[in-house]
Symmetry: C2
Subunit: 343 residues, 2 copies
Amino acid sequence: MEPRPVPPGGRATLRDVARLADVSPKTVSRVVNGEPGVTEAKIAAVTAAIDKLGYRPNFTASSLRRANGRTATIGVVLEDVANPFSAALYRAMEDVAREHGVSILAGSVDEDPARERALISAFAGRQVDGLIVAPASTNQGYLNAEILAGTPVVFVDRAPAGVQVDAVLIDNRSGAREAVRHLIAHGHRTIGYVGDLRTIATARDRLQGYRDALADEAIRPRPEHIVEDRHTESAAEQAVHALLDLPEPPTALFTAQNLVTIGAIRALRARGRQHSIALVGFDDFPLADLLDPPVTVVAQDPSAMGRLAASLIFRRLDGGSWEPTIHPIPTRLIPRGSGEIRP
Amino acid sequence: MEPRPVPPGGRATLRDVARLADVSPKTVSRVVNGEPGVTEAKIAAVTAAIDKLGYRPNFTASSLRRANGRTATIGVVLEDVANPFSAALYRAMEDVAREHGVSILAGSVDEDPARERALISAFAGRQVDGLIVAPASTNQGYLNAEILAGTPVVFVDRAPAGVQVDAVLIDNRSGAREAVRHLIAHGHRTIGYVGDLRTIATARDRLQGYRDALADEAIRPRPEHIVEDRHTESAAEQAVHALLDLPEPPTALFTAQNLVTIGAIRALRARGRQHSIALVGFDDFPLADLLDPPVTVVAQDPSAMGRLAASLIFRRLDGGSWEPTIHPIPTRLIPRGSGEIRP
DNA sequence: CTGAAAGCGCTTACAG
DNA sequence: CTGAAAGCGCTTACAG
């Protein structure tokens, strides 16, 4: 609580400390960085001066001069931190980064390629040691300059295009196939699909998985039962209302993203059909098990994905070298009730 | 996709660009920063060299030398990004920061004061232009050095102690009082309290609000109906089981935090009591309206809180000056069903 | 309109 | 064990 004698309006520098302790700047640097070969007396003098001035080393300046140029900061580009999937990814990365004494610059892109580039440009300009990206763009060739310059880049959730990098991905197609197969196994032949923007590759993969599962059982997909480009809860809700208004409505729904699933549930509830129309969602979400009926989902493991993505960055920073690889993370079907409703 | 002629293993510098364009570094600097007074010819030469080298300005170095020393980066210290409350706060701050061309360094403290200090130290060492903090510590006097040095600091969700800063807060006590008053108005006289760690000031405030509401109606609080220090879902779940096992169990519950509310719901479900025991939770959470019964809550507005907190930082950075103030954000009781169950 | 010199806060590479 | 000089990548403050 005692006010510290900091230079008014500015912060003390290493030179201020050196002057007060009556040593050279280099000696202060040695003390600050815990380098050996400084007498106890000088260490004490420097430490006292640091305390007195409230000196805080300028890490930014030191990394500018330091041999490896590392900033102990990585950049994380997410879809939307407010979405629990992104939030879980981020939290897992943060935990790994903390173990390495590394801070995180993060931002959300909301499916906007321009925002993705702006964030990466801002992070690269701040000399991040690595980048973890869940891309919204269709091609990330612009990252090649960074990669050539030696910055490790890892993609998460979405595959790279135009660039060779490690990627932590799930198999969206087979996950979706499993979901729809589950519905078929419970007797459904007319299954509606409601999915995210078709500009998103993972959304297209999930639709393909849906088609695969139908083809497996020689069920002809009905175009009117397939609704793409639903990115929000309310857009999905409307889509489900429309599906149920069809002359031949589906008896089951596969909803290919967490917000879409929630929108679908709202529509089913509004019609009192939640116990008569089966539902399997892609992506788990908090409280899915507490709804009535509990929601069957194909769960991803965002914590595992985030941990692995961050670990890959740090392995490369620690000198690890390997060809850029796809690192698959398995999905898991969790039957809870909504997916086991029979037609 | 075409590989750029970047110096192998390193990035091009402003000097590299200057050499290639055959101008002085200062001229490159002018072009990069869009300063006026450069001939079209030189601009073209510099731009071509930048493209050829894949040059990206080192923003870190420029802010070291730049007059105001700004890094266009702020630090955000949250409770836990994976909690939807923190995630919503963060997202709102991010949106404001983006409008100002500012990046965010963020981290979670998980109620650990040491982590709080470590994060702030890391962010300050990276020369952030401002700090937004949801503190876990009981005293933040250590921030005074930063504040004296001119870094704007804003607290959010939790009040400052030992330091004079702006704070964006809700009135936890009166919010809790309103919640419990609501239960009393619906006929309850024995109301259980389940709350977060008593080390958290807002948890203590909410308990006080609970006591206030009982006192208002001259209801004697029963110590055995008050359970503190429940920080996780499962801890809260256990607590509710224990409450309902009492000889005289409460007919209603006030759960003073979002995870605690969810844990309580799990316990009520497990016993099939969700329609017979009333429940009001503090903090809204996604899907609260889709549960059965829908959950009555006292809602905070984390988006409004985050936006305001970030705006305050930028107003100060833009030269605004005022005495550090508490900025109250109202809470709102949302009756949905669980809180209107009668004894 | 353009550039040479100095310096932001720190570390490197030496010398003693 | 200690420090003087130079330099990280850039901008400032001048001079022309």
